[in-house]
Amino acid sequence: MKCFSRYLPYIFRPPSSLLSSSCHTEADIISTVEFNPTGELLATGDKGGRVVVFQREQESKNHPHRRGEYNVYSTFQSHEPEFDYLKSLEIEEKINKIRWLPQQNAAYFLLSTNDKTVKLWKISERDKRPEGYNLKDEDGRIRDPTTITALRVPVLRPMDLMVEATPRRIFSNAHTYHINSISVNSDYETYMSTDDLRINLWNLEITNRSFNIVDIKPANMEELTEVITAAEFHPNQCNTFVYSSSKGSIRLCDMRTSALCDNHSKLFEEPEDPSNRSFFSEIISSISDVKFSHSGRYLMTRDYLTVKVWDVNMESKPLETYQVHDYLRSKLCSLYENDCIFDKFECVWNGTDSVLMTGSYNNFFRMFDRNTKRDVTLEASRENSKPRAILKPRKVCVGGKRRKDEISVDSLDFSKKILHTAWHPYENIIAVAATNNLYIFQDKVN
């Protein structure tokens, strides 16, 4: 597949950051990346509660080589740190997820969430402003009424484009535990927010009420052995959603069956391979992300070492399993010790559901072609990617002789992890978040 080998890197950093890339503040760490449904906009959220939205340059005859370049469109502070006085807990402002709503008018809408509160933001452009008010002058100062001798009608005059973001809805106080996912329903009227033990259904218009549709909290918290890790609505069927658990199972629920979807319609679970059993089997089976394919026929799940594709009609075992970094299997004890085993990697489909992408360590990310069964490892790094250079496939050497370009497992930098990636809905453009840097790669089509 030619897109594997030909990518052009563009490197962006949050515009407010004045620090060089080698040292960065904690607040600049990107925590979520998401394209909007048309691919025109790309939103990133960071640990400091900021959202930065990039917009794709329109094609222009004057600058043909700049087609597809993403530039900063809007930056706003979505969430602030809060203090819950009742429980003496600080609520982090880190943006856990951003989800775009489909565009219905000139403005763009997105949902962004931190651990406790979901906000609906409206991003709109203003390129005209009214001039010629009667009661105040151009600076906004109130005019002396005695100086007003004539009435005039204010006119709209063009101004420099201003993009403003306003919070339109704030959905709060519905989650006791930390929100890990949000998903917009295909009816475009509702969405769901998921925390460790509960899933709530909201109407986008109503902020003071939400419906609980899944609750796995045991009556006795000491019996808690499983939590919800992610959830998503079906892309076409507005009554269907899935949620994944820390024990490696995925449950598909139909909201038509009952108001409370504690009983699943389908349970996707793969029996454990006894030969691979270890103390860490359960931890590495915990699913960190679940995504429906664009068609809705398949599900993709990411656990610590693999990506699995499931057929929605077959619950007994996955259709395909791809090894992301199996060389880590023998290092699980150290990864448990340094907490890396708890890292939550995301996974994404390409627009045609033929390629999967997910991140790894050392700023590596992996792509799997479902048709050709080929896979590739690429690196998102400033040093290795000059602008417009083609990304070179990387390889991790597992043992024995290390070739010149290979990197050995022990040399991997586990602090450089790619947890968040996004794929343009139609084109071969990908966004990869590497700590505080956002890389946008695109397939060069000649």
Binding site: L89, T176, D196, A219, L224, E226, V227, S246, I283
Partner: protein, 274 residues
């Protein structure tokens, strides 16, 4: 019944590497648990995964102990001289008081008895290592329920989740009291069991034929575990203290040890040493 030689071979094959990994997983898990306890709000996912790992370690160790004990001890010992309670006056190795609600069943305590009786035989180092691990696990697993519980204790009480505002006070206090006990000696590990199990076991262990001429004493002695538990003033305390359980203290530990000692004194006094 598996042949002795075969079982032994199996164990030795697993032996060193398995044991060292077991120990390191246990150490790391305990360290993480302690670190998470210090946080105001540890991640629920992380806590659940760590406590599940600890449970798995515990069950693996128990499975090993059972397989070993079934090989070495074809018959369970009738007397339990090793069971004479010998409470250290010092503080226990673990001062976890948070949520000791992992209940151990009788089968496990029998297994631990076997371990104790068997320590005098060969493979002393292995068995004592397993005993130490088991004892550690008893305290840790019980406290391992802490992470889902301690931060949520306040949440539960304050967010109006009416169903879960209070944990059953008697059982929590019971097991909290007994949780502190296992410290140094391997036999003390048995007493990490819920207190009613401990007491019932002790009562059963006593050779009742000794008491027949002393009917009065026996009658006075045949109290149920629940009754004895009432002797402990801690049980009547309000459960609101459980919310602040995250602040563990040595003082509370030694106080609870003294309560246990008090109960044991009552038991000891009611039948004279022969």
């Amino acid at each position: 019944m598996v042949a002795k030689g075969q079982k032994r071979k199996l164990l030795e094959g697993r032996g060193g590497a398995w044991e060292s990994q077991l120990q390191s997983v246990l150490d790391i898990s305990m360290e993480k648990f302690h670190r998470d306890q210090a946080l105001v709000e540890p991640s629920l996912l992380r806590s659940v995964l760590i406590s599940n790992t600890l449970r798995q370690v515990q069950s693996e160790v128990r499975a090993q102990v059972e397989s070993l004990s079934s090989v070495k001890m074809p018959s369970k010992p009738q007397t339990h001289s090793g069971l004479e309670p010998d409470f250290p006056s010092g503080s226990p190795s673990s001062t976890e008081h948070n949520a000791p609600l992992f209940s151990l069943n009788d089968e496990n305590s029998n297994t631990e008895e076997d371990v104790m009786a068997w320590t005098s035989e060969e493979d002393f180092s292995l068995s004592s290592a397993i005993s130490v691990i088991l004892k550690d696990l008893d305290t840790v697993i019980d406290a391992g329920q802490g992470p889902p519980r301690a931060p949520l204790g306040s949440v539960e009480n304050l967010t109006g989740d009416a169903r879960h505002t209070q944990y059953p006070p008697s059982s929590s206090r019971t097991e909290r009291a007994s949780n502190v006990v296992p410290s140094v000696k391997s036999e003390a590990a048995c007493l990490g069991c819920p207190q009613d199990v401990v007491l019932e076991k002790l009562l059963l262990d006593i050779d009742t034929s000794v008491f027949e001429p002393e009917v009065n004493l026996l009658q006075g002695f045949s109290v149920t575990a629940d009754d004895l538990v009432k002797y402990l003033p801690s049980l009547s305390k309000s459960p609101s203290a459980s919310s602040s359980s995250s602040s563990s203290s040595h003082g509370q530990a030694t106080w609870e040890i003294q309560e246990i000692e008090h109960v044991m004194d009552i038991l000891m006094r009611t039948y004279p040493q022969s």
